[in-house]
Symmetry: C2
Subunit: 216 residues, 2 copies
DNA sequence: CTGGATCCGGGAAGATACTG
DNA sequence: CAGTATCTTCCCGGATCCAG
């Protein structure tokens, strides 16, 4: 991106991350962990491959990301966030928070990836029954999903891991999921709209926002 | 900006504020308060007038800003942030925080406005002597500056106001100011590098970061 | 398959001049 | 003061192709 040529903290930040796609690449690496080029492409529908390559070069120059070869027999390169790149989580969090109300508008024909949803989930979820033993709720599947882990009154949202065995697995149309986790839809109503729960319903209810939900 | 067409909170936020200049316009309105078109131009060196006009139209459509005619005999239109626009302060804060280290690089021939500096100042300042009566330190002047108000252990940074009479007025080259408020330069050393203090030095020392400053 | 490079068309951004 | 008009430049998006 062209520099703004302003001696201003924010303008200089935008000189580095204000380019189209750059912050969404950070989103992918924050929610997915280390990624291959092709992982990023899948998580960034709409980006041209040449543009992704160019952005990655720029971000490497700016020391936001680093590349290192995968150790195994695999001939692939892993892309990771540097510490400086990780520090962008605050920016990502605030953009996510500000944009959350925009999710109430219908998806039209927007693309959807379940792991994108892990960002707003971080502050939409709560642990409703802190005294119960730890519970894991999986949204989506191993291929594209995230795990909500409730324990001791705290909620942690991470990317799916085959190491973790979920108590409950949930699938639903994107907007139903949004309405459910923003408390606009009760669990019962959501199930009439395509929500499918595989496992304990109680585990899901545990992480849903507080009582007093109002059906739309 | 073209939409990313992603059903993702952050992507939808960037659909609205990811355009070039948009967040800097928000910066201006947050730090300067209601602005005229020409005020914005002065605070956004480098922007073309047609582009500013276009961004303002888009931001008005997105309900980030509103326009209303100035009441008095003046024939001017004031541009203000809506509540939704104000809510971007979290995004602005995090971008400012992340970009702050970039200010340690020299300004080259970047433009500088003192009121831009009020953003990082908000977390660089402290009240070193909470028991003293309230103090106001002015950086720059009424035309382009900001006031640092220390009171009861809290620090508030606002835009300059003729209603307020500062105890001390400070002027300095931009980078000296940065080094001073990041604790890289002692007050004494800064004064050898172009810092000029008009009024009580103690007032300025009160809001500077904690002791143990190391000269560069 | 992974990780790109190359080419091209359209549109956004930049520069400048001008106006009610 | 608050923009519009016009022209140029360059970034982005889409398609295609290619080397390891």
């Amino acid at each position: 991106m062209r520099s703004y040529n302003q001696y201003c903290s924010m303008a200089r930040a935008l000189d580095l991350v204000g380019d189209r796609w750059t912050l969404l690449i950070v989103r992918e690496l924050l929610t997915q962990g280390p990624c291959r080029f092709s992982d990023l492409r899948r998580g960034l529908p709409g980006i041209a491959s040449n543009l992704l390559a160019q952005r990655l070069r720029e971000m490497e120059s700016a020391a936001l990301i680093a590349r290192h070869d995968e150790p195994a027999p695999v001939a692939a390169t892993l892309i990771t966030l540097t510490d400086r790149g990780q520090d962008l989580s605050g920016v990502v969090r605030e953009l996510t928070r500000w944009g959350a109300p925009l999710m109430l508008d219908a998806p039209n024909n927007d693309e959807f990836r379940m792991h994108w949803f892990s960002l707003p989930l971080r502050y939409l979820c709560r642990d409703g029954t802190p005294d119960e033993p730890a519970t894991t709720v999986r949204l989506g599947d191993l291929h594209d999903g995230c795990d909500i882990i409730a324990e001791h009154g705290r909620v942690d949202v991470r990317r799916c891991s085959s190491d973790r065995q979920p108590d409950t697995t949930v699938a639903a149309p994107p907007q139903v999921l949004v309405q459910l986790f923003t408390g606009q839809l009760s669990l019962r109503t959501a199930m009439t709209k395509g929500l499918v729960v595989d496992g304990s319903t109680a585990a899901l209810e545990r992480v849903l926002p507080g009582k007093g939900q109002t059906d739309v």
